[in-house]
Every structure is written in C-alpha cells, then in structure tokens.
Amino acid sequence: MNAPRKDKDDEALLDVCHLPTFAFGQRSPMWWGTMGLVAIESTVFALSIMSYFYLRSHADTWPMARFPPDLIWGTLNTAVILLSMIPNHFAKRAAEKLDLKQVRLWMVVCMLSSIAFLAVRVLEFGALNVHWDSNAYGSAVWMLMGLHTTHLITDAYDSLVLTVLMFTGPLEGKRFVDVSENAGYWYFVVLSWIPIYAVIYWGARI
C-alpha cells in the first residue's frame, strides 16, 4: 500500500485501502465471466435440443435406428456425474473459507470422479446404437453427446490445472475465488447433463 496522501481536503477523497483484494460469488468479476459462459453454453444446448425435436417433428419414424440408445451406461454415468457434485460442493465451501488443505483434498476427489465419468462416457458413445452419419437422428444424438463431452473434457482439464496449482503454488487469495467459480461451472456441466440425458436416452422412447 502506498504512503498516505498529504492532501489538504481529505473529504474530497474516498479511500479504498480498507477494501478486500478479492471476493466470492456475484461480487467477483470472475463469477460474471463464468455466468456469461454459462449463458452461452446453455443457449447452445437449448438450441441443440430444439433442433433434435425439430427434426423429430418432421420425421415419420423416430428414432431413425433399430434401437434408441441403451440405458445402462448413460444412466450409470448420470449417477456418477450427479455424485460428483458432492466433492464439488465441499471444494467450493472449502475455498470460500480459504481452507487450503480441504480444497486440495476435495479437488483431488473431483478429479477422480472426472476420470470415472469420462471413462463411462466412452462406453456411452459405444451404446448409442446409431452412427452420426446414418441419418439426421444419429447426427442430432452425436451432436448433443459431443457438445456435452467437450464440456466435460474442458472442465476436467481446467479443474486439473487448478488442482495442480493448489499443490504447487504460487497461491494468492483470488485463486480460491477461481476454485469457487470453477466449482460453479462444474455445477453447470453436471446440471446441463440432465436435460441432455433426458433427450438422448428418453427422447426416442416417449
């Protein structure tokens, strides 16, 4: 902090020395940036889901395949993905309490869960029962899966980088804000899966 100013009229000045140098939640610009990304990606997902139903409305038969996607791996992965919200929640809480040890622990658990759901995601792709180039139904299903999987991969990578940083440093207060915001984005990737799961796995069954 700089030397106090020697000004004649101190009532002309609004001093901000006392303010914190980082903050959590919607106080933080990082929150707004993350929310902007959430808005964009939600729109992409919503438009993809709308395209799925648009194509369906023009189709005589749906799915345009012998079988809709097998339920087993998708439903299992939905459980794994939803469960990953637990370590995510604890990581976020730990970050907002500036508890480095807890942050490290829970972020490692998050990383392990991301390995699990990425692995099951591979199995999901094999159980879709349609190829992306067979017909528009296949294309729509693969697009939805592809978009969400891209988010899983990039979110997993983000989280990995952050986890490593939490161990190696250099650390400062706003890194805890990054952990909190990363957790917030993780919530989005998890929750956005629910409608997408419903569309891919049940959209051709009802």
Partner: protein, 645 residues
C-alpha cells in the same frame, strides 16, 4: 446554468503518477507489441483492423457495381461474382459491423464509467487476435481462388458438399467460428466491465446512454451468436464427416439451417444497430448542449428493442412453406419493434428542438440517420408484411432496404463517432472542411447508389445475379448506382486522407474540445495508460456538466500493480479491489494455436484432437501465475473474511 466552477481536482504526487503510468504501459519491443493487453492499445488495433476490413468490403462492392453497371457485364464471370458478393456480405457482417462496435466500446466504456481497464484484459486481447486471424484466413482463401461463394448466409443444400465442392464453404463456416468466438468473449468482457467496474456513485441510472446500448448489445450477443455457431458447426460436420442435419433424404431439413441462421441473423442486425443509437445519443447531447430528452424512455427503448429483436427471425423466411398463421405473428412482431425506435427518434428530435445546435461534422453524420435510417425503417415495415414481402423478398428492393438501415443506422453514426472521438484517441482534431466534404460525398453517393435499387426491385430485378439482359431495361438505374458507389469510395478515401493528415498536423485537441459531459473527456487526449490518475466518484449523469460534489475521487488504489476497483451492480457501491494481470504473450500464442486447430479441422476432423494440445498448453501458461509477482503482492492482500462489511 453555467458550467460549475470546480476546484482543481486532487492529483497524485508526480512520482506516484509516473509509477502508475509505468505500471499500466505496454511493454516495449517486438515481443512487447504482441504481449500488450492495455484495453486502449487492443482497441485501437481492433478499430484499425475492422476499418481495413470495411475498406476491403467496399472494394469488393466496387467490383460488384462495376460488373452490374451495364447489362451483360463482362468484368467478372459468374464464379468470381458469386465469390465477390459472398465475400462482401461476409466481410461487412462478420468482420466489420459488429466487431467495430465492440472495438469502439472496449476503448470508450472503461473511460466513460471511470474504470482503469476492461475486465479480463488478456481475454480481450485474445479475442482481438482470434478475430484478426480468422479474417486473414478468409481473405487468403479468397486470394488463392478458394473464396466462399454460397452467399454470406450460405443456405443449404447449396452450401453442402454435393453442390459446393472443395473447401470454400468450409473456410466460410470456420471464419464464423473465429469471429463468433471473438464476439462472445468481447460480450463477456463488456458485460462484466459495465456491471462490476463502474466508478463509485455511477448507479445504473447515471450510466451514459452509450454504455446502456453496449450492455444490451452484449447480452444479445450471448444469446444469438451460439445459434450461428451451432448452425455452422453442423454444416462443417455435414460436409466433413457426413452428418445429415440438412439432408432431407436422410431426415434432415433445409429449413433447420434457415431457422438457426436467422435466429442469429436477425438479432445480429440489431446488434449492429443498437450501439450506434448510443453514438447518436452522445453526439446529439454534446452538439445540442443539453442532455437527451427522456433518459428512462431511451433506456427502456433500447432494452425493448434488444428483446423484441429475438422474435422476428421468421420474416426472413416468408417465401417458404411455413404455416401462414405463424408468419403473421412475425409480421406483427416486426411491426411492433418499430415502436421503441420511434420513441428514440422522437426523443432525439425533441432534444434537437430544444438545444443550441453546433452543425459540425460529427453531428452531420448523425443527422443523416434521421433521413436514411427512417427510410430504411419504413421499407422494413413494407417487408414486414408477408404479402408485400412475397414480391419484394430476394429482389434489389431488399438490397436497398438493408443498406439504408445498416448504413443509415450504423455506418453514418459510426463515422460521426470517429469524428467525435478521434480527438480523444489521438489528441488531434480531424479537419472540419475535409470532414464536410467527406460527409456530403458520402450522403449523396449513398442515396445515388441505393435509392434506385428500390425501383429496380419493384421492376423485377432479383438479387445475387451476376448479370442481367439488356432488354429488361435495368441498365440506366444500375449505371447510376455504380456512379454513386464510386462517389462513396471517394468519400472514404477523403476520410482516410483526413485521418492520416490530422494524426500529425491536426489542431491539438486538449482534454475536452467539445465541452462534453461524460467522463472520458476529463482525462488527457489521448488518455494515459491507467485512464484516470485517480478514479472519479460520480454524483450525476453527465458528470462533467454537473456541479462538483465531494468526495470527488478515490484514493488508496495501488500504483505499482494493476489494481482496479470493483463496485456493486446496481448502485456502484464500493466492493473490493482486484489485481489485474500484466502484459503477456500467451493470449497471442494461444490464439495462434487456436487458429491452427480451426484451420486444421477444415481439412481433417483429427485436427481437433491433436491441435487441442498446443491450445491447452497456451491456455495453461496464460493462466499460470508468476511466482515473483504473487509473492510481491501477497503481503498487501486483504481477505474478504477479515473484512465483515
């Protein structure tokens, strides 16, 4: 009421001011040039780059007009012509119209709201690089004979592989990815800056009208650009890996493209139109010497326009076989959106009516809006009717309409904005005499070019035709239009001459040559790297036109790191301080890696996989904090948990 005589503002001690200057400056040298992230530096490059694209788009237009000047034109053949109009539309829409607004905004918004920077300055820089590299890719493709040729709107099935072989359309689709990614990032930057970094006391109610237009536009970007990104991604996958989104033989639908494209495309034109509404408000206020009439109505009108713009897209599809009742809904919406614009026009006329007018070049360009945009808006009402549209759609009538609204609504105010803010950007005034010549040539040339096109459309001339037979009788009006186009070109040349000449030899501007009311005029021209030596405290709209109140400035922000003030969303109450990152080469390098990924994936889908690696590496280094800098600052950290406020 005369301008309040304010006491001399508090200043930093000279050594602190020098340190502040140093902290926020761009690093020197070649590597430094690529590492710069100061928002004004990036914005200047961005403005110049978009202007270069504007000129290139204009040259493409001159080629088009030369070919169409006479029937059975032989200047270019059909293949080159189709590339010309595709490149013209794509350049103007994707590489100029929205990006230039974001570029100007990233310069002015921090200054207008009393901030030292934009939020996320490195992402701001990355967005500029990714935009520029995408534009370069497009023009290189054109220059090597692989320019896209399926129209700026690339309707399927024409743009599918079967009817558009080669890589032309893939390049176009990937250009979309580049530019929309940049646009989306800029939108996030601008929204966060506007909502979280306003100077203390600048409540939303005191925010300049221009800043409101940028806020509204940026939200529109977030919700509209994903549509075209999704559409173009599906187009690339149809072409590259055989998906069937748009193939009716395999369950796809040609209109899926049109819905997705126009869901973006209609808001797009309002994203082009709304920021200039902010230019107009600002310039009319300054050159009428009074605030614009009806501030709340003006703000609500902008917000209403932004919302309504999402409900119009089907009016681009009135000639299709969509149900007639549905189409009529979109007629009603397309008519209704005229209401908020009408409110704004009436408020501006009221402002001019009760002002003291200075009819210099910035105002002249803005005044042209009232003739040209109004005509364009009225022809828009004509096109809004389904029945009328069935005669006018895809004819030269639409070419006339779109240019009247885009140029009247955006380009004229933009030129006004350049004349108005050039002194702030450079410290020099643009020549006024040359400015008037520039204006009148542009105004007359514009009307000469585009007014006849209304008639040509009614006379049956369709769009996107590389030639027409002489017996149709369309030759004279086309010839007139071409003359007008060359007049506009001459006018733009005059503008360039004015800029080049005035950079060195224009009258010195000083801080506030226009006696304006907003905060950017309270700092030097051009502004110092940190914008404000001491962040101001705001007590009214148009702070420079209002009585000085205390406290007037903020103290306690660091001079030796890039420290900014974060305030609350609605009332701009103090919240916390934040350290922004310093200059870095990584946004540029990551943009290069991303470019490799995007261009590679035009040729093989595997590029997505292996090119992700350098992108990830670049992004990681971009993010990774520097040990010495962190250690330097950790001593002065204050946690929000200590401060229970």
């Amino acid at each position: 009421m005369s301008m309040a005589k304010s006491p001399a503002p508090p200043r930093l001690a000279p050594q602190d001011a020098a340190q502040l200057h140093q902290t926020w400056s761009d690093p020197p040298g070649l590597v430094g040039w690529f590492s710069a992230i100061n928002h004004k530096t990036i914005s200047m490059r961005f403005m110049v780059t978009t202007f270069v694209f504007f000129v290139m788009g204009g040259l493409l237009a001159l080629a088009i007009r030369t070919q169409l000047a006479q029937p059975d034109g032989k200047t270019v053949g059909p293949d080159m012509y189709n590339q010309l109009f595709t490149m013209h539309g794509s350049t103007m829409m994707f590489l100029f119209a929205v990006p230039v607004m974001q570029a100007v905004a990233t310069y002015l918004v921090p200054l207008m709201i009393g901030a030292r920077s934009v939020a996320f300055p490195r992402m701001n820089a990355f967005a500029y690089w990714i935009f520029t590299l995408g534009g370069i890719m497009l023009f290189i493709a054109f220059l090597v004979g692989s320019g896209p040729d399926a129209g700026w709107f690339a309707y399927v099935p024409l743009s599918l592989l079967q009817f558009s072989p080669g890589k032309r359309v893939d390049i176009w689709a990937q250009m979309i990815t580049f530019t929309e990614m940049a646009g989306l990032m800029e939108a996030i930057v601008l929204i966060t800056t506007i909502l979280k970094m306003r100077a203390p006391g600048m409540t939303l109610n005191r925010m300049p009208l221009f800043v409101w237009t940028i806020l509204a536009t940026s939200f529109m970007v977030l919700f509209s650009m994903p549509a075209v990104m999704l559409a173009s991604t599906a187009l690339i996958t149809d072409r590259l890996v055989g998906t069937q989104f748009y193939n009716p033989l395999k369950g796809g639908d040609a209109l899926l493209w049109q819905h997705l494209f126009w869901f973006f495309g209609h808001p797009e034109v309002y994203m082009i139109f709304i920021p200039p509404l902010g230019f107009i408000s600002t310039i009319i206020a300054t050159f009428s010497r009074r605030p614009v009439v009806g501030y709340p109505a003006m703000v609500l009108a902008v917000i209403a326009t932004a919302f309504l713009a999402f409900g119009l897209w089907v009016h681009h599809m009135f000639a299709t076989n969509l149900p007639e009742l549905g189409k009529t809904f979109f007629t009603a919406a397309s008519l209704m959106i005229a209401i908020p614009t009408a409110i704004q026009i009436f408020c501006w006329i009221a402002t001019l009516w009760t002002g003291r007018l200075d009819l210099r070049t910035p105002l002249l360009f803005v005044l042209a809006f009232f003739v040209i945009l109004v005509i364009g808006g009225l022809t828009g009402l004509m096109l809004a009717s389904v029945s009328l549209d069935t005669q006018l759609h895809d004819s030269f009538f639409v070419v006339a309409h779109l240019h009247y609204v885009l140029m009247g609504g955006a380009v004229f105010p933009l030129f006004g904005a350049f004349y108005y803010w050039f002194p702030k950007f450079t410290g020099r005034m643009l020549g006024e005499t040359l400015g008037k010549w520039n204006f009148w040539l542009f105004f007359i040339g514009f009307n000469l070019t585009f007014f006849p096109m209304h008639v040509l459309g009614l006379q049956g001339m369709p769009r996107r035709v590389y030639t027409y037979p002489s017996e149709m009788g369309w030759g004279s009006l086309n010839f007139l239009a071409t003359i007008g186009a060359f007049m506009m070109a001459l006018s733009v040349l005059l503008f360039i001459v004015n800029v080049v000449h005035s950079r060195r030899r224009g009258a010195v501007a000083g801080d506030d040559p226009w006696g304006a009311g907003t905060l950017e005029w309270s700092v030097a021209s051009p502004p110092p790297p940190a914008n404000f030596e001491m962040v101001p405290v705001v007590h009214a709209r148009d702070p420079l036109w209002s009585a000085q109140k205390l406290p007037s400035h903020v103290s306690g922000l660091a001079n030796d790191y890039r420290e900014i003030l974060v305030t609350s969303v609605a009332d701009a109450d103090l919240d916390h301080r934040l350290w922004l990152p310093a200059s870095s080469i990584w946004p540029f390098l990551t943009a290069l890696a991303t470019t490799v990924l995007f261009i590679g994936s035009v040729f093989t889908p595997w590029a997505v996989v292996w090119a992700m690696v350098p992108v990830a590496i670049g992004a990681t280094f971009w993010f990774w904090p520097k040990k010495d800098i962190v250690e330097q600052r950790t001593g002065s950290e204050r946690s929000p948990l200590e401060v229970e406020s």
